[in-house]
Symmetry: C2
Subunit: 212 residues, 2 copies
């Protein structure tokens, strides 16, 4: 761990970095050597000074008039975003959404290594999905501890979200990725990330309505 | 369309409504008849006056001292959020994430009716997933028009995100649900909703790092 990662980057900046990464990866694929914040700005419609400020959280310097080295910037962005490390994770609730996440090979490219899933449905326990085993919920505590999983992905029905979170935290998980619309509580020091895709749908429908 | 829906609800309020819905659905399942904003406030840790203000966008009145009728509040929330209507959608990019969304039966409960998917991979075209057919990308324009699909779900590799968006808009789609980290452009009147789950991962990793 280097010192520059210890500055708490504001969340809006952190959320823009993956945009830059996506664009820089495109440039690397087409063989570009350098990119300036002005060029990123034109492409992504983000203010150039904002981009320079966001990138100042990374351990990289652009060269005057030339900009950043494309492969190095891609590497530094991936590193800073945590995509180059492997984070062991478990899925709780291997139903439709949980199963879908297990199907998504893309997650492993972003540093998420799903090692196991759990479900109360006896028909699911004992199955596997892309090599990820599904265990009965009763084995959660033991298996999370054994695997040293630090991320718990919660895709259970909403009424079981908090109890799943409590079990995961007791088993040593340090981050909860909550896909339910339930507002979880967790002890201090446990990160909660909410990805309620259904809430995004609501926003989309509402804006469509408004556009007539 | 009733008049109250014509007030543009602020996005933060709109994003809180699904939390209330999740809680109210729990109450309905366990047979509760009434719920007050104070009770919702205690459970979800949102200020009670904020809740009352958020719910004022709905066509529903709470009764003094008793609160809201649970089944009615659930119905009005679902209606307001667009979950009780069916929105025809297509998936562009039937790879891992696109396939995962097609697997997710949950989306249909939130008003999203995926009628078709498209992929440039000739091995995927001709297959189907949960009854949803996958067509060659060359048939996109014709099939989106025929189906009258209004929502385009973009799960292609990032370098094809903008061209997929352009095709969808030309075919009459009114909303783009973008799962890539690419910043799409679209003509005015087209809603863009970004759900970059990988960006959420970056935020989570960063916060874990900080907690040590």
């Amino acid at each position: 761990m280097t010192d520059y990662q210890r500055d708490l980057i504001p969340e809006p900046a952190l959320r823009r970095l993956p945009w830059y990464l996506a664009y820089v990866s495109l440039l690397r694929e087409r063989g570009d050597e350098f990119v300036s914040s002005t060029q990123i700005s034109r492409e992504l419609k983000v203010d150039a000074s904002q981009i320079a400020k966001d990138l100042s959280f990374l351990d990289i310097r652009g060269k005057t008039r030339i900009g950043y080295e494309v492969p190095l910037l891609e590497h530094k962005l991936e590193e800073f975003l945590g995509f180059r490390r492997s984070h062991r994770a478990v899925v709780v609730g291997a139903g439709s959404l949980g199963g879908a996440l297990m199907q998504d090979a893309g997650l492993s490219r972003y540093g998420l290594n799903i090692v196991a899933a759990f479900d109360t449905n006896p028909e699911l326990a004992g199955t596997s999905c892309r090599g990820i085993p599904v265990y009965p919920a009763s084995e959660l505590t033991r298996r999370v501890r054994e695997a040293g999983a630090k991320v718990g992905i919660i895709t259970v029905p909403v009424e079981h979200a908090q109890s799943a979170a409590d079990l995961l935290v007791a088993a040593g998980v340090k981050a909860l990725w909550n896909f339910t619309p339930f507002r979880l509580s967790a002890p201090e020091g446990v990160v909660i990330t909410n990805t309620s895709i259904y809430a995004h749908l609501a926003v989309m429908y509402n804006r469509m309505e408004f556009n007539g």
